[in-house]
Amino acid sequence: MSAANTVNPPVVFTQDELGWVSWIDPLPEAELTERHFAGLVDRARAKSEYFRLLVRDPEVLEARTKTDKDIFYNVADGLPRAERELAAAATSRYNGCIYCASVHARFASTYSKRRDDVQRLLDEGVKADLGERWNAVVKASVALAATPIAFGPDNVEELRRAGLDDAEIVDVINGASFFNWANRLMLSLGEPSK
């Protein structure tokens, strides 16, 4: 268990790099077997407390990781990476995951070169006016994150008006939906630290 007194939790959304500290015991690195390394997918993830916690169920972690990578990194076609990251950041901002938002806001900034707009999403929240196309992506992500789910034909229409085709809309749906998975793990198994 990590020492709680070393945690310095951030109190605002930020694009700075944050740490993450588990509230329950990750597996010690020395105890990882080949089954665990298969679950980690990237061996380097053995250094991360978060992944050494999730690897307690290696099969689920492996499938989750591969789902994640394809939704965000497979840019052979479909929505530009920047806008997939925007969907992830908007979902995280709305659900309240400061850690996830920091990572994916940084990615959105890197790939879009619109760091100030991304920062406005973090500072002002999901109602920030980021232009028609980004507004449509943010609004769709927020509608998907609501429970009960509020995503409807109006969201599809807005995304189409903003120039997205159906394959790109599926990338928004996948990216935003995936962060409803990621946010809940990051928020509930530990906490961010500056």
Binding site: V60, K69, I169
Partner: protein, 199 residues
């Protein structure tokens, strides 16, 4: 053309349709969303989280999102489990008691506190506790938090699960299951909406 997976089945996507072709472009995501489902509901080791408990939590979580083919699917999975059949009714009653709108909850004290939103702090009714048992009572209360107010989660919630008999590994799988369903129910809903808008 692909063989139907669980998301196709729940979203009503037919092989050879437009959405089937779009999903095929993200083959690794498609295959691993399916593997995620299988590793959660047909695991190689259910020692830390029984199949009946998995089905009960899944029926509860998807039911909290409102009636849908997904909710019906997991309710049937619970009914089909020998240890789950008797749980269908108490879970259904608890879904009705737990339904609300999210996300809500508190941010860390500071500038974000103005965005804090109060809402239901769900607890299983005393009447249902004997039917559900200590582990499931703790699980449903935590699952409700994860569904509606994940930003309220605190280390004390982990302690509550441990105290109710959950192992650390069981907590990881349980958290993955609730989080995965939060993903699955949204993908299915999003794809259904898109299909309807393209009809």
């Amino acid at each position: 053309m692909s063989t139907k997976d669980i998301i196709d089945t729940l979203a009503g996507i037919e092989p050879g349709s437009g959405l089937d072709a779009i999903r095929a472009r993200r083959l690794q995501a498609r295959e691993n969303a399916q593997k995620s489902y299988l590793s959660l509901f047909e695991p190689i080791d259910a020692g830390d989280f029984s199949l009946a408990e998995r089905a009960a939590v899944a029926a509860f979580v998807t039911g909290l999102h409102g009636e849908s083919p997904v909710a019906a699917f997991y309710r049937q999975k619970l009914a089909a489990n020998a240890d789950g059949t008797a749980l269908v009714e108490p879970i259904q009653i608890e879904i009705e008691r737990g339904k609300t709108s999210g996300p809500y909850g508190a941010f860390p004290a500071g500038p974000l506190s103005v965005e804090n939103k109060a809402g239901l702090i769900y607890r299983v009714s005393a009447e249902r506790k004997p039917q559900l048992g200590t582990r499931l009572v703790a699980a449903l209360e935590h699952a409700h938090l994860l569904v509606f107010r994940p930003r309220d989660a605190a280390s004390a919630d982990m302690k509550a699960l441990l105290a109710a008999g959950w192992s650390t590994t069981g907590i990881v799988t349980f958290s993955q299951l609730v989080a995965f369903l939060s993903f699955q129910v949204r993908v299915v809903s999003g794809l259904r909406t898109l299909a309807a808008a393209s009809a």
